[in-house]
């Protein structure tokens, strides 16, 4: 592959749109050609800069209501669709708006390293048939089981009512220490929530990121670090993180 061909394909390569053979060819070229490598690094940095800093405009609450009200009604379906479900959606949305306002993205460095470890732990938990050490949807079963296995007492909450049933718990190892992994299910998907003690931080904002196609979020609250990782849709993931933040940690 020559430079012209490589430069033509750099954007598609950054976007993961090339077939395996072409990817290998461009990797070989980038390894041998510093000039093209510089171009590649710049495109990649720009793309991740846009992802991190471009504003994602979440729909205002009023619009959700407007759209719902404007849709033609069908007898019998309205109450079900816009009753409790709608209320829950509205609550989730207000949480979302709160998240969006406090939304800051991961800074490179220690968090990036940890993010990779969190994703690796998530993938491992799915691959190795070692998702849970204790399978239970009952927080009163999971919590005592943890006692004596960890030197801290993480909060445990079943979020089944909100659509994220607790599947169980597991001990895991992240950032050089033993941590609690709570496993939640969302339809066919799995969400791993890692918890460990951390010095209280002034900054309680939720930080979102995505690594290798997995959604990540982390925040620090009430002396604990919370890291969530999953492949559920971004909307569901944000709603889950909002629930964790609001229900599993004491109010500010």
């Amino acid at each position: 592959m020559n430079c012209r061909e490589a430069l033509d394909l750099i954007h598609a390569y950054v976007d993961g749109e090339l077939d395996l053979l072409t990817s290998v060819e461009i990797e070989q070229h980038l390894g041998a050609c510093p000039a093209c490598k510089v171009q590649y690094d710049q495109v990649r940095e720009l793309a991740s800069g846009i992802r991190s800093h471009a504003v994602y405009h979440a729909a205002p609450q009023a619009l959700r209501a407007r759209v719902g009200a404007a849709l033609p009604r069908e007898p019998g379906s309205v109450a079900r669709a816009w009753g409790w479900g709608g209320m829950a959606a509205a609550l989730a949305l207000s949480t979302l708006i709160g998240l969006a306002l406090g939304l800051v993205w991961l800074q490179p460095g220690a968090d990036e390293q940890l993010a990779r470890e969190v994703v690796a732990a998530h993938v491992r938990s799915l691959m190795a048939n070692h998702l849970v050490d204790i399978a239970s949807s009952d927080q009163h079963t999971v919590k005592p089981w943890i006692d004596g296995k960890l030197d801290f007492a993480p909060p445990v909450e079943d979020l089944a009512e909100q659509g994220y049933p607790l599947a169980g718990g597991r001990l895991d190892y992240l950032g050089g220490r033993g941590v609690m992994a709570l496993v939640y299910r969302r339809h066919a998907h799995v969400i791993n929530l890692f918890i460990w003690p951390q010095a209280p931080a002034a900054d309680a904002r939720v930080r979102f990121d995505s690594v290798q196609g997995y959604n990540l979020a982390h925040f620090s609250r009430a002396g604990m670090a919370f890291w969530a990782v999953s492949d559920v849709s971004p909307e569901e993931f944000k709603s889950f993180v909002g629930l964790v933040r609001d229900q599993m940690t004491p109010a500010r």
Partner: protein
């Protein structure tokens, strides 16, 4: 099997629409907001798009509602712009320098709190400039960039939404990023790489 039987068969068109399309309201609004560059216009467009989508919904087969819905949102944006701000469409793929100034200041970007004020001010300035540079991109470049970077759509999905071949999507996206790298305020900020201007 919980997913068979009369409960599923009885799902109405509206329920199916709500299940497949309402979860994408944020995506719909985000696209409309970036294309119209105005929150009130974006809300009007999204409401109109959802009504259109509901009308055409019977013709929709498949479970991935997002790309389908975004196609309609984009189409509605274009109809709206054609009617209200035709100059923005006619400007096509040439530069559109006035657009950046119109895009103005966005309070969403300044919603940081706590932490080191100077670092936050710098980050906010950085963000603001980047967001203004994106808003100043010509429509055809802006839309592929938003669909790719903020909606994480594949080239194939973007091609479907903007009704163009995959190769065109690829070259527009490359051009959009090159334009951003060449935009003067962005080059002046540290942190984002400056593009070499090619002759």
């Amino acid at each position: 099997m919980p997913l068979t039987g009369p409960a599923v068969a009885a799902e109405s068109a509206r329920q199916r629409f709500e299940r497949l399309c309402l979860p994408h309201l944020d995506a719909a609004y985000n696209l409309a907001r970036w294309l119209t560059r105005n929150e009130h216009d974006a809300q009007d467009v999204v409401q109109d798009a959802y009504l259109r989508a509901f009308r055409y919904f019977e013709g929709f087969r498949g479970d991935e509602g997002r790309a389908w819905l975004l196609t309609i949102v984009r189409h509605t944006c274009y109809s709206w712009l054609q009617k209200n701000r035709p100059a923005e469409i006619d400007s096509g793929f040439d530069g559109d320098s006035a657009a950046g100034e119109r895009a103005g200041f966005d309070p969403d970007m300044m919603a940081a709190e706590g932490g080191n004020p100077e670092a936050i001010a710098l980050q906010n300035a950085h963000r603001r400039i980047l967001n203004q540079a994106i808003a100043a991109l010509p429509l055809g470049f802006r839309e592929v960039l938003i669909l790719r970077e903020l909606e994480d759509l594949s080239y194939k999905e973007i091609a479907r939404v903007v009704d163009a071949p995959v190769g065109t999507v690829m070259s527009r996206l490359a051009r959009a990023r090159t334009l951003l790298r060449q935009s003067a305020p962005l080059r002046a900020m540290s942190g984002l790489p400056a593009a070499e201007v090619k002759q």
